[in-house]
């Protein structure tokens, strides 16, 4: 099986630009939608999308974060107790469109948990999903409305997303294969 490689800084930047434009194309000027990043990987991507959307439309969408720790379906399955992150939704969700943002879409379980968090805070008009990378292997019926890049992976591979805070070209997506299980 031929696996795609990761992405470099330039590619990550272009992909975020394209995602921002697709969001504007579908949802328009951000007067009644907000970007909500999943802690921790989705948060910086949501902020960058907000930057791009502001550059293009002149309006900065509201941003928030959801932490899914308390809503995980694997809390008792042998993971170290995860450190709690911050859920910060400083705006009314009811009646709004929400774009949920994460770095990597894999099994879909994180998104399932994030949807539950959002529903406990309010009743949005709609929730859409934007991800930088879709690496396949879904375990739940969930798909991205805005996907940056599809990566062919084995289920055992790891995908690491590194986004630098200072927006330098240090950004990268790395695919780390695990040996021995190739078919």
């Amino acid at each position: 099986m031929v696996r795609t490689t990761g992405m470099n800084g330039v590619e990550v930047g272009r992909t975020i630009d394209r995602l921002a434009h697709e969001i504007i194309e579908q949802l328009g000027v951000p007067t009644d939608y907000s970007l909500v990043g999943i802690v921790t990987g989705g948060r910086p991507i949501a902020e960058r999308l907000a930057d791009r959307i502001e550059e293009s439309t002149g309006v900065r969408p509201k941003t928030g974060t959801v932490d899914i720790t308390l809503y995980r379906d694997d809390l008792y399955t042998g993971l170290e107790k995860p450190v709690l992150g911050e859920t910060r939704l400083p705006f009314e969700l009811t009646g709004q469109d929400i774009v949920l943002v994460d770095d990597v879409l894999f099994t879909g379980r994180t998104v399932r948990a994030a949807l539950d968090v959002i529903m406990d805070y309010g009743r949005p008009r709609s929730v859409k999903l934007a991800v930088l990378v879709d690496r396949g292997h879904r375990e739940l019926p969930i798909s991205a409305d805005f996907a940056g890049r599809f990566l062919q992976t084995l289920k055992t591979d790891k995908v690491e997303v590194h986004l630098s805070e200072e927006k330098s070209n240090d950004d990268r997506v790395t695919l780390i294969p695990t040996d021995g299980e190739d078919k």
Partner: protein
């Protein structure tokens, strides 16, 4: 934090206390949401087993467990079969047969939570054992102090009243000294014997000596149920020498915090105008209590090490 039980703060490290308080800060937001509930402990059973009277602590633990979606059931002294002569171990074996995941116990005998923790597989949280410890109260006190003081390191905490018979004081002394705070206790000799110094605190016998330098003044309740004859002459005399009124509060720093674990005997430990003063953070203590107890239940019951799959996005 990797432990089954929380029996006291005596053997809890600085790192663990910091982890509990940091986790509690996150849990505060759950109580401010529209739906004040997260599914974290769904399907888990938490038993509150209170063999001494309690309002705050039992309600607070009960609410904390419910906000984490655990099922709770309560035993109390007046309603349980212990009234009919059942021993603590027999009661515990019966509770055990109902497959609980955690028990929150208050008992007049010091060490009873420790006995249950050794004998049974479920988590035991000490909600007050005799004059020994009341760790969740001390943790909520420390969270309240940290909110206002930033850090506990180097701060001076005055604890006034019947320190010797107070499990709240003992847990606070263990926790605060672990966190690097200086603890000064004051009370009559019968309630603050010089031997308390071996806990790492300074012992004083007048309230005026401790109020002036304190960042926090913690007033303890006069526990009439634990007082023996001769410990003090009259309540009025105690109040005259050790009660906190506005005059004495003027000796303190203007930004001092006044705390009390409740229930307050208004007019005994402190006058009503002090209890309701700007410096009083007594109701914040109650709010923080729910967050601290959610953190404890989460840290003790969430995420057991049973071997399993890896994180999946």
């Amino acid at each position: 934090m990797n432990r089954k039980d929380l029996l006291g703060l005596r053997d809890v490290s600085r790192e663990e206390i910091t982890e509990i308080l940091d986790t509690a800060e996150r849990f505060r937001s759950v109580s401010e949401r529209r739906i004040k509930k997260v599914p974290t402990l769904r399907g888990r059973t938490v038993v509150t087993f209170f063999m001494e009277n309690s309002t705050r602590t039992r309600l607070s633990f009960d609410l904390a467990a419910k906000r984490l979606s655990a099922d709770t059931l309560g035993f109390s002294a007046s309603s349980s079969a212990t009234k009919k002569g059942e021993t603590l171990m027999d009661t515990a074996r019966n509770i055990d047969a109902m497959k609980p995941d955690a028990i929150i116990i208050r008992h007049s005998a010091a060490g009873s939570p420790h006995m249950l923790a050794k004998a049974f597989p479920w988590s035991v949280l000490n909600a007050g054992d005799g004059i020994n410890e009341h760790p969740s109260q001390a943790l909520l006190d420390m969270l309240t102090m940290r909110d206002h003081l930033g850090s506990l390191e180097g701060k001076t905490i005055a604890i006034v009243g019947d320190v010797y018979h107070s499990r709240v004081a003992r847990s606070n002394i263990y926790g605060l000294t672990t966190m690097g705070a200086k603890v000064v206790v004051a009370g009559p000799g019968t309630m603050c014997p010089p031997s308390m110094a071996h806990l790492g605190v300074e012992v004083r016998h007048t309230i005026d000596e401790v109020v002036a330098d304190a960042d926090v003044i913690m007033m303890l309740r006069i526990q009439r149920e634990r007082l023996q004859p001769g410990m003090m002459s009259t309540v009025n005399e105690y109040s005259h020498f050790y009660g906190l009124d506005l005059e004495r509060l003027k000796l303190a720093r203007p930004d001092v915090l006044v705390m009390h674990p409740g229930p307050i005997n208004r007019g005994v430990e402190m006058t009503p105008d002090v209890a309701d003063s700007e410096q009083s953070v007594i109701l914040e203590q109650v709010t923080n209590g729910v967050a601290v107890r959610m953190a404890l239940l989460y840290l003790l019951l969430g995420g057991e090490q049973t071997g399993g799959e890896e994180d999946a996005s």
